[in-house]
């Protein structure tokens, strides 16, 4: 592992101080209404800017993973501009109680420990065209309907790049969006829900785990120079998470020397 990489940890392994810093960063971003703020980044995915990339049968999921990696990378930079040590945590939806409730507690609690509103619980959308003025909600399904580790293992065993990205998007990513329901369940407004980014961190992590085993597989060469608007990045720029300065770990403990 390269030096000075930031570690994206699992939500269920964050310390109290890490949760507090994560909430602080999102809270600060949610108070900013310009292009450094939460609403700006949320609005890049669906309404009002519609930059997100998902699979179609013309381009089967080719851009889904690279585009969302660039999206998370740029959001994380904006988050760190508020609270430097914060990284985006990943939501492992394969876990079951008691290790983690279906919607992780840090997102499910209406308030933080001090009684203040929890910025991870909801965000108020205020758009005039289209007219959307509501706080995001969730309508989660039964915990038993979330993907299990065996489902993840099955997708990760897919060797072909196109088959892998399609399976990851359609069988895991889409399922969890629908399982959370509410705003997370609709492309247009999903990114306004604060849990969106930790769900996508999990997806990004699974892609990275697949890349560690398979490299870039059979990814078409002509994909590599495709730009990922609105970010000034091409697909080849986001292939390695280490090049982007981060890695994934369930937890991290620094050994004193």
């Amino acid at each position: 592992m390269a030096d000075n990489l930031r570690i994206r940890k699992a939500v269920h392994n964050l310390s109290d101080s890490e949760v507090s810093a994560f909430r602080d960063a999102y809270g600060q971003m949610q108070a900013i209404t310009d292009n450094r703020g939460y609403a700006y980044f949320a609005g890049l995915h669906g309404v009002p800017n519609w930059y997100c990339q998902h699979s179609t049968d013309t381009a089967p999921a080719y851009y889904f993973l690279p585009w969302h990696r660039a999206y998370l990378y740029n959001l994380e930079l904006a988050v760190r501009s508020r609270v430097p040590d914060v990284t985006l945590p990943w939501w492992d939806w394969t876990l079951r109680p008691p290790r983690q409730s279906a919607i992780p507690k840090i997102f499910a609690d209406r308030t933080d420990g001090s009684g203040a509103a929890n910025p991870l619980y909801s965000f108020r959308i205020n758009l005039t065209n289209p007219s959307i003025h509501h706080a995001t909600t969730r309508k989660p399904g039964s915990p038993d309907d979330l993907p299990a580790q065996t489902d993840v293992d099955d997708v990760l065993s897919t060797g072909d790049w196109t088959d892998f990205t399609l399976a990851l998007e359609n069988r895991l990513h889409n399922l969890v969006h629908g399982w959370v329901g509410g705003d997370m369940g609709i492309v247009a407004v999903a990114a306004f829900d604060p849990i969106f980014y930790s769900h996508h961190c999990m997806i990004d992590r699974l892609w990275w785990l697949w890349q560690v085993r398979n490299g870039n597989g059979s990814m078409p060469d002509d994909l590599l120079d495709t730009v990922l608007p609105p970010f000034n990045m091409k697909v080849r720029d986001v292939l390695s998470v280490n090049t982007l300065g981060y890695d994934y770990a369930a937890a991290q403990a620094v050994v004193p020397i």
Partner: protein, 183 residues
């Protein structure tokens, strides 16, 4: 010079939301329309054919509207959202569509524009239809033991919909086929 194409494909509602106030998406309680195919031969999947895995591939799926789980049943045209997802009920697998929720833009925003000409290098319209592959290996092997033909029923169970979404005609597609593989 390439011939200029004016072909457009319309999906869902093409009217702007005008003064519709869009509230948080809901899980509708009313069921969406199910689809049942005509009988299809599954002679290709008989015991003498040693395939190791099988997918049901569905092409041309509209994803402009509500999000849903598409539950696939074999030989169970009466299946609905309450039917257990068991092989005994013909359940073969599910696919999941992350829908756009209806048209949030002005008139024409969700019309799928084809390329204007050979020099149009823009990305394809994001609402071009999508595809799904449903692993159906166990169910297909089981049904092929005693059936020459099966029907395929898709029960869409809507997970999220907005005021702009068509909640009834959720599952719209162009083509469906089985694919078997030998490892």
């Amino acid at each position: 010079m390439a011939k200029k194409s004016t072909q457009r494909r319309r999906v869902g509602k093409t009217r702007a939301p005008d003064k519709v106030k869009i509230t948080s998406p809901v899980r509708p309680s009313t069921p969406a329309n199910t689809y049942t195919s005509k009988p299809v031969s599954i002679a290709f999947a008989g015991p003498e054919h040693r395939f190791t895995s099988a997918d049901l591939e569905i092409l041309g799926i509209d994803h402009s509207q509500a999000s849903y789980e598409g539950r696939v049943f074999f030989n169970n045209p009466k299946a609905d959202a309450s039917t257990p997802k068991t092989l005994a009920q013909g359940y073969a697998g599910s696919f999941y569509i992350f829908g756009h929720g209806g048209c949030f833009g002005d008139v024409g925003h969700c019309e799928i524009n084809e390329r204007l000409d050979a020099y149009d290098l823009r990305d394809p319209h994001p609402l071009r239809p999508t595809l799904a592959r449903v692993p159906v290996t166990a169910a297909l092997k089981q049904f092929a033991k005693s059936n020459a033909q099966i029907s395929i029923t898709v029960v869409p169970v809507v997970s999220a919909a907005t005021e702009l979404s068509d909640m009834k005609n959720v599952f719209r597609f162009q083509q469906m086929r089985f694919l078997t593989y030998n490892s």
